[in-house]
Symmetry: C2
Subunit: 661 residues, 2 copies
């Protein structure tokens, strides 16, 4: 792929990474030099001889993806980006490693730094997102063919990545789906933060990956010919590939190499001087000899990119491809959402919101080729497997539905990877309480601004007999607390359509749809042409004149508020009912809108079959709350609602207590 200067060796190129990494960490007085120094050889051979990328076009759709799952070794990636010529990653950025507003954050951050494909650092996430990228590649390939989609996903993973449970979910899914375009380079350096890995680890990693259906090999991670041969072999594998790269952490450091001492702290001036001597690196900090820079700048695949652009220009699928890869909904997509809202408003179906969600997906999927997703073995409960949808299988990636297995965390990370790759708007599904299993990946959806849709059904004690292990009570609050995450809890079929509408129009962050198991009445009387959920809350039933009391609810409890309002009106009270399908959107509207909905001094009763936690920002300390005070219980749903007092009578009593003063 690359012709190198006769005078510059791979070793010289790798040493440039080592020097930049140790010097940047030293200058920042913080960071992780050991991994970049240990994996410099592997990374050099990969980027110089095997990876398809164009520094002038970091967003080129058919580039190979490189994921540094061991994100703490961020200087490895920043050094590569600088050396290969990503324009924004200047030497000054490397000098400002880990400083405020630099492009060289402590861990790689997607969207912050060109060339960073995924935010990594929380271990196990990178390798798991890479499965989603490799899957999205095959799925786009199935739609657009080799001429437009023909790339690979390369991952550097650490011992810690492989200890994390999510890695099990990811590798077994990758093996099952036969994702042979995925290659994981395991930095097998036998060192963890606490010391030798054998303090906590005895697993035969190669056997483990073999058991999951991967092709495995082991190499000396400092032997350039062996690295080259293993990467070459990986490119023709019919399975996902693990290459165990035996390396020396902190390679070159005279006393700290091969020890935990080089993992996560600056080497210190003396050790750095000794490393320079050992490596034969004579340049000053942040200086790279011109011939080595030239050799690095000669890598990359600008020609391949040019050829691809020409193929795209000549392709009859060009418009569709560009539209799908953009991530922006087109006119047909948006029209489908609009039409469905109006249809639901006209039909007024009384449905469980999970069923309304399933109908929404079924109604729009024909106009949304980018919609793809699945469930963690709860297809019949989550209802996101729409009639006739194709199932993605090993070797057949044309479908739009994925059986993720009981792998909630890996599923969420896979969705992040699909979203980052581009081409798909992923939706993933499980029970709401199991959001806890997905949570580290959901946090990354928010942090990376990826519009993943989390369809989470069985959203309260309304699921009944499965009991407190399956009944979310704190889950809504815990998700609302995540920045940039919209949590929708629709009250009827129309609000469910509105929630999907808002989640899919959104392109800068994830949404949760918290949906009922149980049937809900239809509440709305408008024609659906305006998405009333867009401001997070709205007056569902206005009082005659100024309200004496305001009732607010979400999801399955809104109908209880409506019933309570009817009864209170019968007793001569003026009552406003507010439906609040998305508290996050409501709080974004600002105090004026809140004050409009909840006029100062007017008592408020909120009702949600969950904990009060987080509600005081809406209703204040003195507002009344009808909901849960702790964990749930196992019993039929109607018994539980009565047992916990989440009833229209409960709302009426709370309102009357407030009105009585």
């Amino acid at each position: 792929m690359t012709t190198l200067s006769a005078s510059v060796s791979m070793n010289d190129m790798a040493n440039a990474i080592r020097a930049l990494s140790m010097d940047a960490v030293q200058r920042a007085n913080s960071g992780h030099p050991g991994m970049p120094m240990g994996m410099a050889d592997v990374a050099t051979v990969l980027w110089a001889k095997h990876m398809k990328f164009d520094p002038a076009a970091p967003g080129w759709a058919d580039r190979d993806r490189f994921v540094l799952s061991a994100g703490h070794g961020s200087m490895l990636l920043y050094a590569l980006l600088h050396l290969t010529g990503f324009e924004d990653i200047t030497i000054d950025e490397l000098k400002n490693f880990r400083q405020l507003d630099s492009l060289t954050a402590g861990h790689p951050e997607y969207g912050h730094t060109p060339g960073v494909e995924a935010t990594t650092g929380p271990l196990g996430q990178g390798i798991s997102m890479s499965v989603g990228m490799a899957l999205a590649e095959r799925m786009m390939n199935a739609r657009y063919g080799d001429e437009l989609v023909d790339h690979r996903t390369w991952v550097i993973a650490s011992d810690g990545d492989l200890q994390e449970g999510i890695s099990h979910e990811a590798i077994s899914l990758a093996g099952h789906l036969g994702l042979n375009r995925l290659c994981v380079l395991w930095d097998d350096n036998e060192i963890s933060i606490d010391g030798p890995t054998d303090l906590s680890e005895s697993t035969d990693v190669l056997k483990r990956f073999d058991a999951a259906g991967w092709a495995v090999s082991r190499i000396d991670g400092h032997d350039h010919a062996a690295i080259d041969a293993a990467l070459q072999a990986a490119r023709s594998s019919d399975k996902p590939v693990l290459i165990a790269c035996r390396t020396t952490i902190g390679y070159g450091a005279p006393t700290k190499a091969g020890t935990a001492g080089s993992h996560g702290a600056p080497l210190g001036d003396d050790e750095i001087a000794g490393t320079r001597k050992a490596l034969g690196w004579t340049s000053a900090p942040f200086e790279v000899p011109a011939d080595i820079i030239d050799a690095w700048r000669a890598t990359g695949s600008a020609d391949s990119h040019q050829a691809w652009q020409e193929r795209l220009a000549g392709s009859e699928k060009a418009d569709d491809f560009v539209s799908q890869i953009s991530g922006e909904p087109g006119e047909a997509e948006l029209a489908a959402l609009d039409a469905w809202r109006c249809k639901v408003a006209e039909d007024k179906p009384a449905l469980a919101s999970r069923a309304a969600s399933g109908q929404t997906l079924a109604a729009i999927i024909g106009e949304w080729p980018s919609l793809a997703g699945g469930s963690a073995d709860l297809a019949g409960s989550n209802l996101t497997k729409t009639p006739g949808v194709g199932v993605v299988k090993a070797g057949d990636y044309a479908g739009q539905y994925i059986h993720f297995g009981v792998r909630e965390h890996g599923m969420a990370a896979c969705a992040n990877g699909m979203s980052l790759h581009g081409g798909f708007r992923p939706h993933v599904a499980t029970f709401l309480v199991f959001a806890d299993y997905c949570r580290p990946a959901m946090r990354l959806s928010s942090l990376m601004h990826q519009p993943v849709v989390y369809v989470m059904t069985h959203d309260s004690i309304g699921l009944g007999e499965d009991g407190p292990t399956h009944q979310p009570v704190e889950t809504l609050a815990s998700l609302r607390a995540i920045p940039n995450m919209y949590v929708f809890r629709p009250a009827d079929a129309l609000e469910t359509a509105e929630a999907w509408d808002l989640a899919l129009r959104r392109i800068d962050g994830p949404s949760v749809l918290a949906l009922s198991r149980q049937k809900l009445p239809f509440l709305r009387e408008d024609d659906g042409s305006v998405n009333r959920s867009a401001r997070g809350a709205y007056v569902l039933a206005e009082s005659e004149g100024a309200p004496d009391v305001v009732l607010v609810g979400t999801g399955s409890e809104v109908s209880l508020a409506v019933e309570a309002a009817t009864a209170l009106r019968g007793k001569g009270r003026s009552v406003r009912v507010i439906s609040a399908p998305c508290l996050d959107l409501l709080l974004e509207q600002g105090d004026d809108y809140l004050d409009d909905l909840f006029p100062a001094g007017i008592p408020v009763v909120a009702c949600e079959a969950a904990l009060r936690f987080g509600w005081d920002q809406i209703i204040g300390r003195k507002g009344a709350f009808v909901g849960m005070a702790g964990f749930g219980a196992s019993a039929p749903a109607e018994d539980l609602y009565a047992h916990f007092g989440i009833t229209s009578d409960g709302i009426i009593s709370a309102a009357e207590a407030l009105l009585a003063g």
Copy 2:
């Protein structure tokens, strides 16, 4: 172990489980008949011939532990408890399966039902808690010898349990620690909820467990002799044991056996009639023939229990054993806590709260033999590895420190298992942001009332350069939202000692200690004899006369409030400063105490380097909040505090704005 009536076969005994299970699910019109019917043979041979238990003494310390990791098959366990003669589990309880206030909840609930060793249902948790039980058994054995501690842990796990990532963490830890008293019976029925397991799974499970250091075998799960032989072999294994039991889900059901249709719904009257016929079971629902009941009642190990009681009575270690297994802190333990608080109050050290925590542990561990714990490969950061502490290793379980590896979720579940087993007060540690990885297990700590201590350091943007992936902003709120979880965020070394004091005195629920990376000033002036954190918040610095404004903070931000108060007093304001190390405890005190601390109408400014979410229940919608509004950033800590405006100046400005209007 057991002599059976000549006329009653193992098959008859297993059919009793099948009949009770299908009939109870049918009557409840909800539940999972397939697994109990499929695993009835395995469970029968295990309980009748191999397991050590005494129905008259469910809490006998040396009993074998049985964990139904596949908790949805709860009727298997309830049927076993009824048939073997656990007094509380009457036939009426089985008839009330999944009804309010019955002992037979949808999923097994620890503390609710005698004989249930762990709350299960969220998949992967049971198998992972069982690792903690098996570890605690070996650790207690190392202390008290075979005569008092000599039992096993048996687990029934489903395909879903093994797909969950946490199972990877658990099995690799068990293999590493050589926990050969652990035996997992995998219900290899090839059926998941969505259909055949090959929809989502291609892993070679036996190879996977072998790679993790387990002994593995495969049997026909309906062949009693094969089951017996495999269990016998397991009892002499030198590794943890996996037995793959090939079973037919819904065994006996004429049309639904072997299909997903028997997994999670009642079989229906016709299918049940057909099953009765196929099994030759002629009894009416909830009736079990007397000879079969007699055969079941003849199982159990009352004799072994009696012999053990005699050994205990004769042991010179009896008092220590009883004290340690009780879980109640003794006088020496409590005195150590008291003495340490007073010592810290006298010394007034300025320390990072993680360092103060480490010193607390080091000071008390000599008096607390039950303290045991470790970190997820962050020993040098979390500082819970006290000087000279012994490390637990395969074959050497005398220590009190465990290198958990990068296995946060498995670590938390292991701690639950250790706590459930008895004998240990487990503490586990990682960075606070990675509470997300532990969360499903932390929820179970709360639900099961287990006093696990979660030591979570690097608790804010104060960790600096590692950036937003490592900086908790929503994490405190998300943990405070969990019922029965106390979240402590101490402001100085004395509050840190107080937090440990409260966490260890507590025996009915878990605690989180959110601790700073950075150094904190010492703030307190009292002698430490009264634990001022016990009510969650207290007046650290009182105003002269009635306050004009109240400042409240937690952890590293309390000193900012103190500085701001000094400045405001210099401007003639009367200022009260409140330290609030535990909002959960504060809210438990009730409105009167809150109103005392925060007098009505007096402006309040809260400061915490985290999101406002959850604070309005303390300070109201109109209170001011100085903290984070979104995710953090990568930079030195002091730069971040300035960048986000979390400073004494920020508090002063907020106070003055409130005072002005």
